[in-house]
Symmetry: C2
Subunit: 245 residues, 2 copies
Amino acid sequence: MTKPPHAGSEGASAPLRSIPEASVARLAVYLRKLGEFAEEGADTVSSDELAAATGVNPAKLRKDLSYIGSYGIRGVGYEVAALVHQLERTLGLNHRQSVALVGIGNLGHALAGYGGFGGRGFPVTALFDVDPDLVGIHINGILVEHVRAIPQVCVDRGVTIGMIATPGQAAQGVCDLLVDAGVRCILNFAPTVLQVPGEVEVRKVDLAVELQVLAFHVARKHVAAAEQTVAVNGHPVNGAGGLLS
Amino acid sequence: MTKPPHAGSEGASAPLRSIPEASVARLAVYLRKLGEFAEEGADTVSSDELAAATGVNPAKLRKDLSYIGSYGIRGVGYEVAALVHQLERTLGLNHRQSVALVGIGNLGHALAGYGGFGGRGFPVTALFDVDPDLVGIHINGILVEHVRAIPQVCVDRGVTIGMIATPGQAAQGVCDLLVDAGVRCILNFAPTVLQVPGEVEVRKVDLAVELQVLAFHVARKHVAAAEQTVAVNGHPVNGAGGLLS
DNA sequence: AGTCGCTTGTGAAGGCGCGCACAAAGTTGC
DNA sequence: GCAACTTTGTGCGCGCCTTCACAAGCGACT
């Protein structure tokens, strides 16, 4: 519909107009895979190769990449180094994003120590909790501070991304503190729907939901298998469990 | 792609015909919120209430619930207890799903100790790793065993769901072992696309991608903010102002 | 130079999910 | 018993995302 009128210009830093949300997530996947290709010494990659490696339809991949500009060479493929650079620029990875993590429980502790973040340009620079036993200790060299210090610390350290790994009841309060401190992007691991102003972006990762979706599929497959068995044995499905109905 | 065409043979308690994936995920959210409502002593809930509490459009919520049958009372709402029961049945939570977790690193350790699983009917019954320092220790009372024991242990304990929290390079091998052991549903935390047979269901949770998507939004907001600032200062973006005035 | 083969970029069609709006159905008050 | 109100269940249009198919562009080979 809305067509960028002069997309071809060297374009300064204007990333682009409205990349579909789904595409952005895949761009990150491409970027990681491209890093692996680069380590293997590949100079160029075709859309078919990269698509196969990331489990995506080749046409979809090309369309995704077309959102950030035309950096492919017809008949050859994409130059790995250049594409990596463009992807990093589009995803905002050329500036380091300072991350604050609130809630140093089981999950939070793991996130604080997770190497996948810092190594990829997301240094966790602040940790918060309310537990007096946790406040004051260091994890990976980062001091755990009290939640009430969020406003001050986040501003001081230029935090741009907040991760919430608290119990559900505490999540909204923590979220409000982060938003007040100027954080505009939040990754929420708590099983709660956060209320935020319109300009704040929230992504939710809900491990319990993921498992329950899988459980649903287990049940489906189980039913399918049972129907197969029943077809052989000639018995109706119901009444076996006794737990329900 | 394989669709059971004859699923609708008898409508009694036949779970359903093909609930959209997106709806299944929301059903799990509804279920959790309904649990909270039940604890507060609510007998019935209207779609508007539940929708507001879960941050969903009321019509969408009703449509989601209609996939599992008509358990609402017009003019009144949904009976909480009955709806919880139906949701649990649909999501396969009436049987316990035995979960195996492979990869006891930072994240795996947290997942092993995460209370949100066992309490919700997903007991983690097996832990695996390859690190000799980890094999043999107990976490939350569960013994960590060597990855090579996966085939035996998973069959013995009736594991239905596997969680992979290994480094990316090890993920595919572990996945193959799980699939061979009869596991049909896998939750993958490793940054890798898993190749699996068609009947195996894989869900991927990619923390690095989540952060990068947020970084993208940070960048976008940053650009927007910069444009605002420019507008306030009265400087045109492209530097052509002098010509016009 | 010209042709051939390969790969990108994209127009267009199809599918899916979202949300509006309304009919159906049940409850409450009189 | 009837009317008015409340809330569910769903048909339908709309927009986004996916996918196909093909023209355009680039390099290699002769």
